[in-house]
Subunit: 363 residues, 2 copies
Amino acid sequence: MDLDGPSGRPAAPAGGAQRGGSGIPGGRRKQRVSMADVARLAGVSSQTVSRVANGHPGVVGATREQVLAAMRELGYRPNSAARALRYGQFNTIGVILFNLASTGNSRTVEAIATHAAAEGYAITLIPIDVPTQDNVLGAFTRMGELAVDAVIVIIEIHLLDAGTVTLPPGVHVVVVDSDAGDRYSVVDTDQAEGARLAVRHLLDLGHRTVWHITGPETSFASQRRAEAWRQVLKEAGRPVPPPLHGDWSAESGYAAGLALAADPACTAVFASNDQMALGLLRALHEGGRAVPGDVSVVGFDDIPDAACFVPPLTTVHQDFAEVGRRCVQGVLRQIRDGGDWRPGTELVPTRLVVRESTAPPRG
Amino acid sequence: MDLDGPSGRPAAPAGGAQRGGSGIPGGRRKQRVSMADVARLAGVSSQTVSRVANGHPGVVGATREQVLAAMRELGYRPNSAARALRYGQFNTIGVILFNLASTGNSRTVEAIATHAAAEGYAITLIPIDVPTQDNVLGAFTRMGELAVDAVIVIIEIHLLDAGTVTLPPGVHVVVVDSDAGDRYSVVDTDQAEGARLAVRHLLDLGHRTVWHITGPETSFASQRRAEAWRQVLKEAGRPVPPPLHGDWSAESGYAAGLALAADPACTAVFASNDQMALGLLRALHEGGRAVPGDVSVVGFDDIPDAACFVPPLTTVHQDFAEVGRRCVQGVLRQIRDGGDWRPGTELVPTRLVVRESTAPPRG
DNA sequence: CTGGGTAATGTTTACGTTAACTTATGCTGC
DNA sequence: GCAGCATAAGTTAACGTAAACATTACCCAG
């Protein structure tokens, strides 16, 4: 493939827009084609082109065909900026999130993107590398300047409350993973119920009590799971061992596991996510404690890999896709109903997936 | 918090825009405030407001302060649609991808989003649930209508070539994970080198040959890793065992592993990703084959969990963040240089991370 | 064969922003 | 005291689209 000299611009501005096997042009004409261009070629007014483009009635067949032909020939695409300017909305939903790397977040975002696309909305991503107050505020400010009609926030909302953040009026918000249901529309997995399922399962197997490895303290999900764990134990009149603190990573689960493996009294552990459960399994294995023979382990999330841990992990299944779906539903409802919405929390149910990492205690 | 009746719209359109502790307003005024509004309040022309907003010179201090005050009072935000219309570009990069759930993709996207943000670009996500020809073409069409200046494609490009896809002129493309370096700007991990590192490591330990579990056939990454595996064995004059085929999932690695565990001749396996290596480890464990005592295992990706597998996995580290960074660099270069770029492939190096799943063969 | 209506198409305007140009103001230097 | 000029501000126009309004052309009833 030959390219023109270093001075740039291919010489031929017009003519064959098609190129090679693929129709994706590597070159560009500076100016996109507008409705006026199409109108000129088709010999009609640009308004007629607009009507054809939007499928409005009142254009006779022959004219429509002519316009469509002209569109094809010129490769016309509507200019969404002009459209947005005209209509006052962008058909775009912003997503602010910390850490796309965690399984849950990326699955949620994927579901959001899919469902938003189905409704004709695009997704604009604003990642926050370090969840400091400043960064979050910065993201919100940026979001305010961006072309979005609504924002889905997948981050601890308390990071926002401490500062004064303003989104432009007309921008709606739905929050994931937060207890701010009194001020926002919140969608979340039913963390507490999931944790209760996990702990009760272990108690039902006959374990006297259940140890717990938490997630980071700043996480509401982690907080709620820990609360539910404590509550179930208390209600059952069981002793509540001191919780061990992790940070969601397998590494932190391993560190916590080293301590637990050394304690023969520990026969059942509920890890606040599957990654930490993985680390825990490793620590128990290295400590010579059989799972589930000596120690039973339950995780949270049901990541796809969990079925292939050694042994396959009993865990609480989270329906991230459903969370994403409801987020989109939520913001669209807000957009469409204007301001007539109320704050509240929607909980997505969980279910326990029993595999081979849990069993009754020995003896 | 009381809301007005079902008929909607809060009665008070003006007044306290501030609300509760957070400044994020749940309500909205239908009309965003424009430069004209700010200009009216500040008693200047809207052009002066524009100059202040963009930090242009030629505005005297007092006037500037007045305008800034008016902006603050009204909560003015520039309208990016109008800006985009004016400038003819959107400051947005589209990302087309299949499956955000895979570790590599989500990490790459995260890096893309971070670096794009640093350059003042936002990211618009177009996910493809099922990578059929139609869906990919649909995504491209949608992308054409969206407000993007460039597109990063994280998907097998051959899906595009078979059909006629047109992106509007002026939209630049960078492709990840493809061999289309003759037509596009391609950024990718150096798959072949990574695979060579893995296989050579096993041979260097003294293994006679190395088995291989591939990814899906449609994946170029998988194809290239398999080719490199075969090539290294051939160059070393070793027998090339028939490859086993997986689909990236741990489950598929487990299935392949069941076959390998039954074959006492197999002492070293290179799995095309870490998930499949995980499944393999489980199968070997269940089959009573010690790792690394009886069988050595190497993965690919170096996902964070790999360090906590049982045993910790020796694997090829991929620098997804760097891939994302270079993608952004690539599209920005294309945008800024106009059409003066050439197709080509940029490879990001890998490195072998040796942990505890590999050792010399017994005896 | 003409008035009233309707269907098809054209013209104008506004959306919010900003480049390019124009006007107003104050100041320097001869 | 005024030409000449810098500086600060305002005015106009255009980006691409589509609603609202205006204009045709045509058909049919009377």
